[in-house]
């Protein structure tokens, strides 16, 4: 029987304290790969009291991803692991004394993951509770499911009968009608209503996959973004779909929809557009490498990526500021507000990954 991950909220005080948190058994199974990531935040010019939040790997056990261990060190006054209440997004929340000249927090996470392929057959995917399904049909701040989103979803899925048919129609529509915009900051924001209203169907993963998720939800099918970060090169040879070593800027979100009778099905239309833009010059939907990616990313993901959470509109514990649209980057605040999480050189954070021997 699997041991459950126990993520304890332990307070820590003093200089460079190290708090090891949970470990779990690692049964050897085919296809699983184990990785370690280290996220190190340094606030170089603190103003007043500083708080920081670092996303942790997925807190839910799945058949494709399991968190093994998290530990934290730093010169914080207090740190704790917090699970955001709606989506169970896990994060380290650290607070530093005012006057701490250079607040530092470092989080080490170990997890195992594997390639994922869900055949569209009864019971092939992970099942969801009714409460989960209800959650992943709801609108979010930037992902409404009425108005232009609903109308667009109905247009796209006209004639589609099953959940799979509807999701497939939206998948193909996103692949064919959007573009990856290399100038988009970070992974984008995912304001899908504005995208549709302005017909600006471009951006990065947090935009394009949010468009998929929002449209699928608006069509009445549960769907969710899965925020995470690439941790290894693609074993399938896609140079645009992997990153190892220094992964500071390798954040990537994927998506899932839930088909009745089948379960959660992974997809990633945004990465199809990434292949078109980055894999080779001048690629189009007609090129074989794109066709292969398009087929692979309908129902499958490569296991070279760490999942963080499914969360939207995340209120950072202890913060008086507005919620973040999603928690995929380290966050920090000082007396003058929130630091720019998309500017790791000035915010000063580094994320590294390495694969551990089985």
């Amino acid at each position: 029987m699997k041991r459950r991950t126990l993520l304890q909220a332990l307070p820590a005080a003093g200089l460079l304290s190290t708090v090891p948190w949970a470990t779990r058994a690692q049964p050897a199974q085919a296809g699983w790969r184990t990785f370690e990531t280290v996220t190190r935040l340094e606030i170089t010019q603190p103003t007043g009291a500083v708080q920081a939040w670092v996303p942790l790997p997925l807190s839910q056990d799945t058949d494709w991803f399991q968190t093994l261990e998290n530990s934290v060190s730093g010169n914080f006054e207090k740190s704790r692991i917090v699970h955001e209440p709606v989506y169970r997004a896990a994060m380290v929340a650290a607070t530093f004394k005012a006057g701490e000249p250079q607040p530092v927090v470092e989080v080490t996470s170990r997890f195992r993951t594997r390639d994922r392929k869900v055949e569209l057959k009864p019971g092939a995917g992970m099942q969801a509770t009714p409460a989960e399904l209800a959650t992943y049909l709801k609108p979010t701040e930037l992902m409404p499911t009425d108005g232009i989103v609903r109308q667009t979803a109905l247009d796209i899925t006209k004639g589609a009968r099953t959940d799979v048919d509807k999701a497939r129609a939206v998948y193909e529509w996103v692949v064919e009608n959007t573009e990856r915009n290399p100038k988009t900051r970070g992974c984008g924001v995912g304001d899908i209503k504005a995208m549709l209203e302005t017909r600006a169907l471009n951006g990065k993963c947090a935009d394009l996959n949010a468009l998929f998720v929002g449209l699928v939800r608006a069509a009445g099918v549960p769907a969710r973004d899965v925020y995470g970060i690439r941790v290894a090169d693609s074993a399938r040879g896609y140079k645009s779909l992997g990153k190892a070593g220094d992964i500071t800027r390798a954040q990537h979100c994927r998506a899932e929809f839930h088909a009745q009778g089948i379960g959660w099905v992974p997809v990633d239309p945004a990465d199809v557009r990434k292949v078109i833009l980055e894999e080779k010059p001048n690629l189009t939907l007609a090129d074989d490498v794109v066709k292969e990616a398009r087929a692979m990313l309908w129902g499958g993901w490569e296991g070279n990526w760490m999942a963080y959470n499914y969360a939207h509109d995340v209120r950072l514990p202890g913060s008086g500021k507005a919620p973040v649209p999603f928690l995929m980057y380290p966050q920090a605040e000082n007396a003058q507000g929130r630091l720019d999480a998309l500017d790791p050189d000035n915010f000063r954070y580094r994320i590294s990954s390495r694969e551990l021997a089985a």
Partner: protein, 166 residues
């Protein structure tokens, strides 16, 4: 006089896509009282919109990654210089760090006040989702007009709109 510039490569604050600019401000339909802006400058000094009561203020939501925002900045500076001292521009940067903003200010020669909306709450309160978004506030602190998308602020229609409140 130069005609308005249509900024077709416009960006959206929240997403980075296309916005069509008309170069003409439309009447503000929301609540008349300007939502408060109490933020910090990139240098760390507090700055409040209320300190500009008695002036006509153009509140401009922008970001350095937003191409039309950057493109329209010189014309914002020019119209501000042209119509001062009864007119001021207040730039509200969306969620960027002070180093990035300072580098932009140094490079572009902007002298009107800039403040940092670090969590986007002020942009949300003003309803600014597509960038640039500019709101013209009269001397009594009431929002009168809005323009979403980039523009040449030295264009005759826009200058006339501002002058009508002076």
């Amino acid at each position: 006089m130069r005609r308005r510039t249509l900024l077709l490569a416009a960006g959206l604050a929240a997403i980075g896509g296309q916005a069509r600019a008309t170069g003409v401000m439309t009447d503000w339909k929301g609540p008349p009282a300007a939502p408060p802006i109490d933020l910090y400058t990139p240098g760390g000094d507090p700055f409040a919109l209320s300190s500009l009561l008695g002036k006509v203020v153009l509140v401009n939501f922008w970001a350095t990654w937003c191409e039309p925002c950057v493109t329209e900045m010189p014309s914002l500076q020019r119209v501000r210089d042209q119509l001062a001292p009864g007119f001021e521009v207040l730039g509200v940067n969306y969620q960027e760090g002070p180093a990035r903003i300072k580098a932009f200010i140094d490079k572009s020669g902007i002298t009107f006040p800039i403040v940092r909306d670090t969590d986007g709450a002020v942009a949300k309160a003003w309803g600014a989702r597509i960038f640039p978004a500019s709101y013209l506030v009269d001397r009594a602190g009431r929002v009168k007009h809005v323009l979403v998308g980039g523009a040449d602020w030295t264009g005759s229609k826009l200058v006339s709109t501002i002058r009508s409140l002076l």
